[in-house]
């Protein structure tokens, strides 16, 4: 997958994620402040492999990483898990 494709797919998903978080602030209230979200698609495994590769570099910057995992559940379209390091 090219970087441009990864960028476009992630930015499309990021809008869905951002709006979900904005509309459902309680869904992320227990997550640490100043953490970075990395998106995992419910359908696109090749994107997920690319995004998995981003985790290390973000942790190296001293940031906490949250996996934002897209689900196929319309009621709860995203679930979140903090990456242990």
């Amino acid at each position: 997958m090219t970087k441009s494709t990864q960028a476009q797919k992630n930015i499309d998903l990021s809008q869905e994620l951002a709006e979900y978080i904005a509309d459902n602030p309680k869904s992320v209230e227990n997550l640490p402040e100043n953490s970075s979200f990395i998106i995992f698609s419910s359908e696109d495994e090749s994107l997920n492999i690319e995004n998995e590769g981003l985790i290390k570099s973000i942790i190296a910057e001293g940031k906490k990483v949250i996996k934002a995992i897209q689900t196929k559940d319309k009621e709860n379209p995203w679930k979140f898990s903090q990456v242990a390091y």
Partner: protein, 133 residues
Amino acid sequence: MKKLKRIKVNKYVPKPTEETETKEIIITDSDKILYIFKRDKAGKYTEVVNVSFIARINEEWIPVVRYDSTHGYLHRHKRILIKNELETTDTNGVKKKGGHHTWLTWALNDLRKNFGEYRRLIFKRSKMIDNYY
């Protein structure tokens, strides 16, 4: 003479009426979206503090484009060059109607559609080649 007893008075500290939330979403190893917004106790947006497209250039994260609604309306700040922090501010084509919720959605949608162009243009203005793509 009898000493007066000092009475301890608790200082009044007003409870915050607004909460500021910051979220950062990683797009690639050299692109991310940051958004900061304020929300009142009822959960209503009170201010879009910042919606930014940030690019990693020369190992530094640089805000290329950011939106805020500090003066009561949504406006755009565009960094002119990579090497310094000077920005232009404009409202050309920027959503004017609606409230903070609409503006947040609109700004995120604009970055989704145009981040590639914003990135290309700052490199062009800076007369640099984007080696990250």
